[in-house]
Symmetry: C3
Subunit: 305 residues, 3 copies
């Protein structure tokens, strides 16, 4: 088999290095999110399928508690999490009210170097705006589908998305082997973009209520508020108006603070959250519940000095 000791030793080096490199480099984590909950066997089935592809794959959960069929939340979760994960991480996001119909199954490569495997039904909206999309490929199900699953039409999360995501994360396939390249155009949900108003205020939308704390998340970047000349260092009270479908629900001056502990227990505050966007909370309390505020495309927020 080996003609000289040199060949043999070289071979040993190659194997050793390969083993090390394989463990460290060629596999990426697979991160799952869905509206399946964790009560059922669905998530575990997805993980089993992924480990059948590669027994040593690292699998993690983003969340499986997205509100059923809420594609906006799916998008929000992806966009808010991706940046904290290593480049090359493969996200599988399955909120799929149209499973079995003709929405496209895609894998997106973001400008940040991450991958998202998902039905293209709006779940990529905020990813496109935040991380940016470099390339989109449609999953070729003649290749990238769990063998033996052809007659099942209701669980693409397991049979197509987890399977394809695992193959990509384990480097069984390269991104180019997912399927044909599509035009770089995704299905987008419409929402109010943040902007500065002529009267000097800023407006945006309420994108999320963070559970279990009930903190309100907006899409207004801290920089827009900075531009108004407002800073937590001033201990300034900012005028906040929250409207639902155009009708004011909350109108109050509240303190712009560096963190929760800087206001009294039970007091509301405006703050810059961990994503550098403006949020509202009650110190040791629940803002959304206390002031009957929810999130969604028809909830807007206006801030003024």
């Amino acid at each position: 088999m080996f003609r000289t000791l040199g060949q043999l030793a070289t071979f040993a080096v190659i194997i050793a290095v390969t083993t090390s490199a394989y463990a460290d480099k060629s596999r990426q984590a697979l991160v799952l999110s869905s509206d399946f909950g964790t009560t059922e066997r669905f998530v575990a089935s997805m993980k089993g399928v992924a480990l059948n592809v590669e027994p040593n794959l690292q699998i993690h959960d983003l969340t499986h508690h997205i509100e059923p069929f809420n594609v906006w939340q799916a998008s929000y979760m992806l966009a808010g999490t991706i940046d904290y994960w290593p480049e090359g991480t493969v996200f599988v996001s399955v909120v799929d009210p149209g499973v079995g119909t003709d929405r496209k199954s895609v894998v997106v490569k973001t400008r940040t170097g991450h991958y998202v495997v998902t039905p293209d039904n709006g779940s990529l909206t905020l990813v496109a705006d935040k991380q940016g999309i470099r390339e989109i490929r449609q999953i070729d199900e003649t290749i990238n589908r769990r063998p033996g699953s052809e007659s099942s039409h209701t669980f693409h999360g397991r049979d197509v998305y987890a399977f394809t995501g695992a193959r990509l994360a384990a480097a069984v396939i390269q991104f180019e082997e997912v399927g044909p390249l599509l035009e770089p155009k995704i299905v987008r949900l419409r929402y109010q973009q943040p902007k500065r108003l002529e009267d000097g205020g800023v407006v945006g939308s309420i994108t999320h209520i963070e559970m279990p704390f009930g903190n309100v998340v907006t899409n207004i970047p801290k920089s827009l508020v900075d531009a108004l000349g407002l800073s937590p260092a001033d201990n300034a009270a900012v005028f906040v108006e929250i409207s639902h479908a155009g009708k004011p629900v909350f109108q109050q001056r509240i303190q712009y603070a560096q963190s929760f502990g800087h206001v009294d227990h039970g007091a509301p505050l405006l703050y810059s959250d961990s994503l550098q966007t403006i949020g509202l909370a009650v110190n040791s309390g629940d803002f959304a519940q206390q002031y009957k505020v929810q999130a969604g495309a028809d909830w807007t927020i206006r801030l003024a000095k």
Copy 2:
């Protein structure tokens, strides 16, 4: 230590290959399910015990949200998940109302080549019917019990099942070392088997309500409905009668569709689920809640043309 360079190099090859093989082959995933919930420290204690056996063990969760003491659900979760996991995977299932009494602690090897570590209290019912049981061994607690845990009588999930499961998954013991071989006979829960009726309909039981969607799961295989000459391709409306303890709760013709998206929002449908059994759902809704249907041994379903 090494007489020749050849010996040395050969040794290097052996180590390198061993390292690689060890990582890839000799360890199997450990998959935990229970009625412990994820609020408490119980599951984490089981995982700690397992990692004390082998620090690099892959541990996953099936679900820990089985209804407390519901052995039927434990069985349902196992039978519906096992097939998606690699051969050799070790499942630990702990729903154990009789902990500390004389129910047997066993490890089963299924005909599909998987292992289940569990109290033999009915949790193997559906595994026996679906995967089939090849061999049963009783856990010899003089060997397969966490050292130092002899005086604890209330947490066999941690001290016996997680410990034994981890040893098996990590190949610290072989299946033969679990304990003595038992007669291939498990404790069985009684339930209505699916069958064709003389009048041409089919009958079965409602085995599960899938949360959070409220989809109804039956034990009627798609093939029995195929044999009635019904197909989703026909857009046929099938007569469905659901009874509780013999009394009809739901009687309606509903569409047999390929998937949820093929009927109107809010409309009920009959479909073949991801396990190739018949299910009932409401598109973007909750069938169980809308029609007050539950699951269990006393819930039966009848389908007719």
Copy 3:
């Protein structure tokens, strides 16, 4: 590069052995607990940050369902779990109502050889009493803080605790590199210690209600009850009085049993739990709900023959 085949082969051996040792020894598991829930993206962001430190790190969850801001529960969960994990395991515990204020961020080395990364706000109370504290170091955030996170003040769990915990678990830093050594004194929550009364009874506090079963956990060690001459083997009925803020809520004789299955369905029992402390439960029922008992510093329990 290599002068002789001997050097080459030796190099191969070194790499191979290093690879193996690296995988098996130098990394420890990272175990996360918090009051973040699993609905949001917070836990996933912490895990992403940890995997950016070391892509092959083993990450596990203790629980993320601690009651919001309940530092006592955080402490209870740590103290009850640590002992089951391998020496060297790194626990990150984030229940942090004072985030952004001047509470200290610390890493503790316990007498059992485990590490806890946490804000020092009371979360170490029961760890100090159970595992014991060997050394405390304050986290030097000029080194041990996620690069680029300096302007974020609201998510130290991700930016400081997960990041530092991952570095310690992956052996990127040694414990000595966490930051300066502090006096071995932590912030302590006050609670009723268990003790023997002059009249021959024992008193203690109710430290926890175990969900979803509703079992009552006390801080009375089995040994104190042994000393009263009581044993499950006697089938003895013990007098139990539970008081809230000094006012009796429950007064009844109940059986001291070896495990749940030894009393009738629906009957209460006193037992020695898996941590060798006294607990109360209802066989196949919920003690806390049935008898309106809760946990906390103002809930005490008295046992007498």
